[in-house]
Amino acid sequence: MIALVDYGAGNLRSVQNALDTLGAQSVIASTPDGLMHADAIIFPGVGAAAPAMAALRARGLDRALRDAIRQGRPFLGICLGLQLLFDSSAEDGATCLGIFQGTVDRLATTEKLPHIGWNTLERVANHPVLAGLEREAMYFVHSYVGVPRDRQLVAAETTHGVTFVSAIAAGSMIAVQFHPERSGAAGMKLLNNFVQYARVQPPTLTLPRKGRGI
């Protein structure tokens, strides 16, 4: 069973529709309990960082997400669900989950923002969830990007005037800046990879960050 994290602002419906089409069972989880019993977690998101963090904290989901990722539960973050994994966001000065060191910055491009539309991946690291996806076009809708301090986290990059991180991965955690649930056949392939991965994956510990009790 895959839990979809519900904090009131995510685009849960489209992700769940995609999972339904793939024949994968999913449940909407709005409590820490709901996450605890899931085999895998998808953390979708649209909207701004500060209200999302406030909603996560109010539900106790911030702690539950940190625990689940540390325990190595297969995890897929989408869009805001990637950005919130870092320390803080410049979008509204929000303090985020701090699971990975880094910030969320406005894309420093001279091109149009928001970065809306289809753009291609440049895969820079292997991950089972990215299997078969090399230079596919995916659908992006955002103005801010995650900037991990640890470059080892970078799984794919994309260029919109400047090159930015479009996917990060560590152990059984992967997070993508684009929307696989809105990226046609290529996005469905990624989601199907995640579903298959979640089925076979025994928990592997995802790097806990140093010097901070999460």
Binding site: S14, A18, D20, A48, L113, G117, T120, V141, G184
Partner: protein, 257 residues
Amino acid sequence: MLLKRIIPCLDVAGGRVVKGTHFRQLRDQGDPVSMARTYSEQGADELVFLDIEAAPQQRSTLLDIVERTARQVFIPFTVGGGIREVDEIRVLLRAGADKVSIQTAAVQRQELITEGARLYGSQCIVVAIDAKRVKRGGSDRWEIFTHGGRNSTGIDAVEYAQEVVSLGAGEILLTSMDRDGTRQGFDLPLTRAIADHVPVPVIASGGVGNLDHLVEGIRQGHATAVLAASIFHFGEFTIRQAKDHMVRAGLPMRLDP
């Protein structure tokens, strides 16, 4: 590199897709959900549903279309037509729409843009501008119209576009009322005037009659996406044919479905 987008537009009335000329003379085109699925399979990059009746009693029909589309179609889609309240935005997004398009209410109550952007992010707030060329003191300019093109406002289209972006619009859906339904091509000076003066993407709309028009909208109009209805609805061209044509013209397009 960011790819250019082709967006088929589905004007919806009474639960059916319709198409008219100059916002009049509507003709039935088919079932919205099955048309959406077909376009997605042909490689459409995005879809727009416009509820052209925008009657409150028809809202449940529109919501049903949105929900059914979201279950079957896995590319982004925008829904617009008569949205006046933030709560309507919430309901449409929850039903599966990725973005909402606000038009008349954006002119009358600009806080709808501000509020929608604050709550759901600029990326899902599209402001639709219907513009028409007018003569004022010997020089040409474009003014915006509301209520499906019926009401004149006297507001300058370029200034208005800049204003709505400053309020939080993440995209502009720009329709030339002079060209809509004429098949003579986009109003390129209008498209370029707006696209060059706002930092957000502009979707060009109104007047596409052949595939060269799509190329012109991007090359000469500086739009990042082109919207068309009749050339696709009438089966003259598939989305894939349109994309192949644009690729031959040197534009970066997504060719996998």
